[in-house]
Each structure stands twice: as C-alpha cells, then as structure tokens.
Amino acid sequence: MEKILVGLKRVVDYNVRVRVKGDGSGVETEGVKMSINPFDEIALEEALRIKERGEATEIVLVSIGGGEAQQQLRTGLAMGADRAILVETAEMPDPLSCARALLEIVNRENPELVIVGKQAIDNDNAQTGPMLAALWGRPQATFASKLEFSGNSVRVTREVDAGLDVIEVDLPAVITADLRLNEPRYVKLPDIMKAKKKPLDQVPLADLSIADSPVIAETVFEPPAARERGIMVDDVAGLVGALKDKGLL
C-alpha cells in the first residue's frame, strides 16, 4: 500500500489526575502534562510496523487542534512517521466536524488505510473513527487487536465484549486501535533531532470549508460521586472474613 494516514490527538496525559474547575466550567488543563492520546500512539505504532514489514510506503500523521499540537506531531514523526498535517483551530471541534475535516484530508491524500485510536481519553467519545468511515462510505474495523493484510483486504481481529470477532474489510478502510494491538516503541534522542527536519504542514480548519454540525453543548462539569472509604485488612484471613460479611463468599 502507498499510504497510511494516522490520526493523533493531543490530550491530557493518562497519568494526570484530572480535576474539575471550581466553577464547573470545564476541567483544569492549565499547566498539566499533555501527550499523544495513548490509543492513537498504538495506531501509529501499528502503521510503523506495517511499513517496516514492507507493506506500506509512507505514513502521514494528521491532528486537529491548536498550534501546540505540533509537539505531539513531532513526537509521532520521531517515532517514525514520514510527515504530518496539523488542521489548525483554536477551539476543538465536535466529533462530526473532526470526522468531516479528516475526510477532507483523506480526499487530498488518498490513503489506502486510516488508523486512529479507538477513543481519545479526554472526552471518551469513541466516535471519530466510525464517523469518518461512514462519511467516506468505506469499511470500519473498530477495537482492532490484530491485522493481517492480504491483497486488497485486511483481516481484523476485534476485541469485543464477548471475546474476539474476526472481520475482513476491503481497502481503503478505517481501523481503530485497541490496547492489545501492540506496545508502542520509545522515542530515541537522535530520532527527535531527525524529526525536526520532517515536513509538518499547517492547514487552517476554516480552509477545509466543512459543513456546520449540530453541536451538543457541554453545560456543567462536576466531579464524580465519591465512593465511601473502604477498610484495610491485615491478611488473607481478614480478606476472606470481609468478603463473607458482604455475602460475596
């Protein structure tokens, strides 16, 4: 295959304990560590492995967000992607608008495969991949844990609640990466230096002239209901006793 497009979203790092702002207007993102959405990192790792096996020629990254998302794209380039596109917008668009913007990039780039994470760990919407596939009129294979290419199709093992499903989709297609697809590589320092020279194009979202979407408004943010403080037991006998008290043994 000629080209794989990988979607990367800049999100609050998964190790950060997110706090809701006191006035309920959002969550605190000032000064917190930001990273590539972990599932997108897995998507990129899979694309790199496909290329390293000689089954793809070029890996193009795409992100939607502010100028600061260049950091995550540079990290992706350091991991091994060939070039990157930032669809620039000050306000993060809704998922349908993201899918429409990605479709515009897909129409410009004509990739045979798009891989994105199964969900972003900030809004947890899990919508962009299937929405892009729908708008593109192409197959989707969500929650992928294994890919096997053969001719113009790919056999995808999907992690579903009841176990594993296997489906086959014709290319071009959209795949969303689940946790067990692979373990992403670490970036090496020389690669970070090399990545600075790789092309990173910036395209204003407004230039893509996508249609307006009916937006779902987010009105009030609040912390989740707290669980009651539990008990500590000293040993296995204490644990067994506590489980028996609750009728669980």
Partner: protein, 273 residues
C-alpha cells in the same frame, strides 16, 4: 410523545442484557414511546425476548443473512432508513453499540452523545469524561434526531412480563459487500464477557478504556492508573491486593490488603477452595 428507536444487541440467538438496561434509560425520557429494532439472521426468539421487556411499545424485526455478526457497515444504513420516524436513536455503549451508533449518527449528519449515565431532561443528559474523573451535563440541539449510546453500568435492566407487538420489516437499504464477517471467537475464547460478568479478577496492564460493573472486582498487583480506577468505580465491591501501600487502587477499594501477590494469591485460593 418522544419516539425512541432502540437498537437491540444480541449474539444471533438471545438478547444481550444491555438491551434491557437501555430500555430502563429510554424509559426515563418523558413520554417515551420505545420501539426496539432487532436485526438478525433469525429474529423470532430474540424479538420475543425484546417484546417481553417492560416499557417496550413495539418490536421491529428484520431478518437477513447479512446481519450475521452485527456489522456496523451493514446495519447502519438500515437504521438510517428507519430513523426518519423517530426523535431518538439509541444503542448500548458496549463494543456493539460503540461500533455501530457513531456510524448511524454520521450518516444522519448529527453528533452523538456517548455513554449516557442519566437522563436530566428531554434533551439533557449526564455523561462521564476523562474515564469518569469528571461528569458533564450535555444538551442536544432541537430539531435533529438525538443519537446516543447508553452506559449500561449506570442502569438496572427493566423487568419482563410485557408482550409488545412484533412487526417484521423488509430491508430497505443496500447491503455493502466491502465488509465481511468471518468468525466469532467468543465461544472458543476463555476470556469472559467483562460487561456481564458478576465477578472479575484482574491483573496486569490496567488501562483498557472499558467500564465494567461486576458485583465483585479483585485487583491483584494493579497499582491503579487513573484510567483503571475510574473504569471499575461502578463495581459492587472492589478488593485491592498490592504490595505498595501507597498504590492509588486503595483509594477506591472497599477492602484493601497490603501484600505480595505471589504470597497472597496462593493463600487466597487455598482459603476459598
């Protein structure tokens, strides 16, 4: 009246418990008139189960060999063909619904509300974000179909005893051939369905992006990354076994035991046997 189309989840033979939980959510919408749609190779017994659920007005079923495996690319156009008659199109926030419902929403040209955890008004809902570290109230715009998935861990299934009418529908949209179901390894896998398991014992990598709500959850040697903690908060009882007494998992545990899993687990299995 608020007309609701709920997409049933099933394994080809019987209804998944997620459907009865989604009916409970849909019934919280004021004046909801709930139709359940069953797309299956052979729908009769699944439709009968759906018709027995309280609060269901009608079951619509459509039979076709192409529905095997519940492929989103096959089902979404069929649902879109039905959606014109409805104010709400709902599905479970299981892997089935998460795969299918966004495809429906995009074809309808609307955004989707993911993981409804409570109904606050006709078009106002609460949903978790940041793996449940925050809850956001969302308002869907009027005048367009409201498409959403329902977080099944937030609802108890409705009862049975109803006998809603069952209607059969001819398929109206084309079936794409670019997506083919090959096999389900669910029966052969020794991995249980975590969404419906009553007891879950977990170890190893903790971040899955999944939310589960078993009666008993035992976390062994999992320190508790933020993502993990929030994915299990709906469990009835959480037990944490970890050698690090500072491990975040103890913050959410109902019962905590500080100890090395290689000593504790053999002792525990002996004690339980």
């Amino acid at each position: 009246m608020a007309k609701v189309l709920l997409i049933a989840e099933h394994d080809g033979e019987s209804l998944n418990p997620s459907t009865a939980k989604c009916v409970a959510c849909a019934a919280d919408i004021a004046a909801a008139d709930i139709d359940v749609a069953v797309f299956a190779e052979s729908a009769a017994s699944i439709a009968a189960e759906a018709a027995s659920l309280e609060s269901v007005s009608r079951v619509i079923c459509s039979e076709n060999a192409a529905y095997r495996g519940g492929l989103a690319a096959v089902l979404a156009p069929q649902i879109v063909a039905l959606a014109g008659d409805y104010d709400y199109v709902l599905g479970p926030s299981t892997t089935f619904g998460k795969d299918l419902v966004p495809r429906v929403a995009a074809l309808l040209g609307v955004n989707q509300i993911s993981d409804i955890m409570s109904v606050e008004g006709e078009r106002t809902f609460k949903r978790p974000i940041y793996a449940g570290n925050a809850v956001v109230t969302v308002e869907a715009p009027a005048g367009v179909p409201l498409v959403a998935t329902i977080r099944t861990a937030s609802y108890r299934p409705v009862g049975t005893g109803n006998s809603a009418p069952v209607e059969t529908l001819e398929m109206s949209a084309d079936v794409p051939d670019h997506t083919r179901f090959i096999a389900s390894e669910t029966g052969k896998s020794d991995r249980p369905d975590l969404q419906s398991a009553a007891r879950v014992v977990a170890g190893g990598r903790g971040q899955t992006g999944r939310i589960i709500a078993p009666d008993l959850y035992i976390a062994i040697g999992i320190s508790g990354a933020i993502q993990h903690l929030t994915g299990i908060k709906d469990a009835g009882t959480i037990v944490a076994i970890n050698k690090d007494e500072e491990a975040p998992i103890f913050e959410v545990a109902d019962i905590g035991l500080v100890g090395d899993l290689f000593n504790v687990v053999p002792e525990l299995t002996d004690a339980v046997d």
